[in-house]
Symmetry: C2
Subunit: 620 residues, 2 copies
Amino acid sequence: RMQNSRSKPCSCPSLKLREVASMYFTMVAAFLVILVVALQGSAPRESDFPYKVPLDPQGLLELSWNVSYPEQAVHFQLLIRELHFGLLFGMSDRGEFENADLAVLWSDGHNSYFGDAWSDAKGQLHMDSQQDYQLLGARRAPEGLYLLFRRAFSTCDPKDYLIEDGTVHLIYGILESPVRSLQAINISALRGGLQRVQLLKPNISIPELPGDTRTMEITAPDVVIPSQETTYWCYVAELPAGFPKHHIVMYEPVVTAGNEALVHHMEVFQCAAEFDSFPRYSGPCDSKMKPDRLNYCRHVLAAWAMGAQAFYYPEEAGLAFGGPGSSRYLRLEIHYHNPLVFKGRRDSSGIRLYYTATLRPYDAGIMELGLVYTPVMAIPPGEDSFILTGYCTDKCTQLALPAAGIRIFASQLHTHLAGRKVVTVLSRDGRERQVVNADGHYSPHFQEIRMLKEVVAVFPGDELITTCTYNTEDRSRATVGGFGILEEMCVNYVHYYPQTQLELCKSTVDPGYLHRYFSLVNRFNDEEICMCPQVSVPQQFYSIPWNTFNRDVLKSLYTFAPISVHCNKSSAVRFPGQWEKQPLPRITERLPEPVPRCPPAPGPQPAAPIPLNLGQLRRD
Amino acid sequence: RMQNSRSKPCSCPSLKLREVASMYFTMVAAFLVILVVALQGSAPRESDFPYKVPLDPQGLLELSWNVSYPEQAVHFQLLIRELHFGLLFGMSDRGEFENADLAVLWSDGHNSYFGDAWSDAKGQLHMDSQQDYQLLGARRAPEGLYLLFRRAFSTCDPKDYLIEDGTVHLIYGILESPVRSLQAINISALRGGLQRVQLLKPNISIPELPGDTRTMEITAPDVVIPSQETTYWCYVAELPAGFPKHHIVMYEPVVTAGNEALVHHMEVFQCAAEFDSFPRYSGPCDSKMKPDRLNYCRHVLAAWAMGAQAFYYPEEAGLAFGGPGSSRYLRLEIHYHNPLVFKGRRDSSGIRLYYTATLRPYDAGIMELGLVYTPVMAIPPGEDSFILTGYCTDKCTQLALPAAGIRIFASQLHTHLAGRKVVTVLSRDGRERQVVNADGHYSPHFQEIRMLKEVVAVFPGDELITTCTYNTEDRSRATVGGFGILEEMCVNYVHYYPQTQLELCKSTVDPGYLHRYFSLVNRFNDEEICMCPQVSVPQQFYSIPWNTFNRDVLKSLYTFAPISVHCNKSSAVRFPGQWEKQPLPRITERLPEPVPRCPPAPGPQPAAPIPLNLGQLRRD
């Protein structure tokens, strides 16, 4: 007979299995029977799982999900088109199979099992002591097997992944032969991969579209997807001549059927108004044949990434396009991700814009927050999480924002390849008030425009502080700020209304203080390195011997030295004022770290006082 | 009859109840009823709770406890000699009543209640959602009310205190009038206080004493305890003329009955052998009448603090005293803590030494680890936790330790008033291997010699790294290293055998690098401060403007700059060798942070796989 292994064995005579075994097991078991039965034959409605993404490049695994904020849980529906001997599905910090939190379905050839597991730093699987992927049902259908399960955002089990806002790295693996046990699964031998999604989609009510809404598809017709893993495809589209000013109120992806797993992300850029015309082009963005002038098509109109849905502007605002002073030319960029190197696939994907001639009260604007693109902001090599911060200061918002403030409703985070986290915080009177947007699992390969859960109101005098965390463990020399893919950026493009003249509110360390740092490094260390002032800033960074002292002092410099603020109407035109050697914004009160809400434990001790009989108490 | 409080009570007779009602609440309720009843009238044996300490200066509250390492729990017995309307007992980081973890017994005048509570940062009490002080029983006796309760070391409830090795700050408060509810208790109006104890006493088997063991009491006869809060009393004792070498094998406190709550700690020091005689003295240590020569009585022979028990040397070793080359004079120092300013109390407390003429195989020795007493190691003002580290390097242990190594069996941590944490770690080949002794709630007011849980073997080439954390939030200028009470130390006196010539293995930052730091501060900051080399190191530290950069760079300096090592036979005589500008020991692998073991939750989800019926799986 089974003993309950959790409580100290009592030598009491006749305990029946069910009486001893914890109540929960029974409950879950009962549940399962009910649900598996209930779901045989009856499909959940499509609308139950509004978000959908293919997990693998062939689209054999398809994940749909919904988010319940009241329950603080995600419900998953996983369609397995070809079930072999099981499947791993889960989450990990950056998509690795080690230290991952996994739901596992496996078969020993006779029976199938489902369980919540975790993998250790070596990739060995273990059954989790707390089962937090709760199986709700399984259903066979003509297209495959559906698994339904539920996972709380936070389980308070240290082995579990904490589902947070921002990017989540989903991983999957397919079991192609039977396994004796969960522990016998060899992760390194699996066919698997990762897929990035924003799991916790915001719960936003969709504004009604105007009656005169029209649509325009910006699609690249009949592209033959190159048979290589990564292609950025560029296509130039043109608005009709004399197209007047409209408001874009919504846009959505148009993905050619069958290519859902290949079209990774798409962006529509407006070209610069300075040029009367742009050449037509449809080809890879890195081709020698691409006209140079397309480099002037960089103003984002719309952006979509896998797993994202339609993007709606708030009902008071729309994105202006057309009309005098704006270019008729648009550039569509599509990132095809084709790791299985399919040949000859044809595609006509793109973005469908919904626009209206009945202009809404406000034009929406895009403002760039974070760090100036300059080599004075640099990251030493070999850092696992080096932090750089860019400031939009009170002085700039005081000057540039209207008294009624602006409303930020969406945000697109941007770094180059070393970026690992990005966060923008709103501070007022030195006190952090609100997170504008945060991604603790940010990936430079997944840069969506995200609707914010809550619209953020920013008033004159507020500060917007953008912090990026970088990993340079694989690099042997310093990474400086700049435009190159191996240089770095720290940017948050915030989408807001009403539009103001402020296009760019960023900062960089005062170059004079950086110079003092270089001479300090030169004097303090015994090495004799030429750090002559005629040498460029990147060259000076490249010649620093990176010991702990030089690293630490650079960190201290960046958190201490005054800043140069770019408070600009456009990338070249500053607002009038003194913007050099500005003091760093002081933060006297930080936002509290969010404490994860744990699911109620099934049988905790009661929180009620326990009555005691102590007799009459006396007063001395 | 009484239940054995060490094992979970088995409530077999009430099993039917459990079968019907839902789990834990019923279980706890049943427990309580059984135990409260069972304990009426039958006293637990003294030996069940081997450790005892008065909580308040009058001794009205007396705490006894035992530690169960298999259960990872402490069992408490609290004797309340005069129960008014209840009592708070608990633990907090440093003895404060805010953010404390409390067991509360309260009465509304009619009924009494017991509950696990916590206080927030403002001192407001809240019932804890998880009840981790488990009441095991209550018993009226002629001397007062006994409460028995149990607490796991770690509860994994973030509101709870984690019971760790080292000092625990116990707090108590007495409810002098009835209260409506737990929440109505006003902590600031309570009569209460704190008591420091080492709660997790090591579980050491007591070595047998030799047959010829004799005892000697070093007591200060008939002291009238001064009617002031704090007195350090000094008393000179003398060994008989011609007293040959003996081994002290054990010592224990002798506390005059009735003064248990006043005698805070006692130490016996041996005087320096250089002097033939020392004057007799019995009086306050800070009196002008105290002969200066007593300052040469600083070699610790024995030390005891409230709550400590007898101290046993390991059976292979004893502490040499008597014989040629050692002084006949001893100084006893007693710290009387008399906050209620009792007048005319007489005391003859002291320490009873157990010694043998049959010398054991090894002499025990005392070695000083940590930082050299020098102002070059300094702490900026206004720091909440500034860290300084002293190194005993591989080069020194290579030279000074025997090939068979030494065994450290006890340790006494020492800092001055700013000390908050002390830890010594053993490192071998750059990898941290073992904690020698750690106190995360260290108080300079509670410096016991503590037996180690595990004897630590140290071999030639090992490194002993001692790290102290300081709080200088109440100070306006830098705190430099030194002998003064407002200067700081970072020391671990380790007790070991076999004795070696190595008395002192400590370090300090290289003074040349500190000089570079001063000139860097001078150049980097815009302030013009004279930091001329003719000015003393403390004066230079006092004139630094303490901005974040200067603080950070000082931290970086201390974790980067080479060190000067004191590898000494005595405080003045170094081992031969080059000890200046030594590299900092490199640590490539840290000890993992201990993961608290949580008590098994009463009804968690089962870790077993859940069988599913999916039909026959196919192989493609």
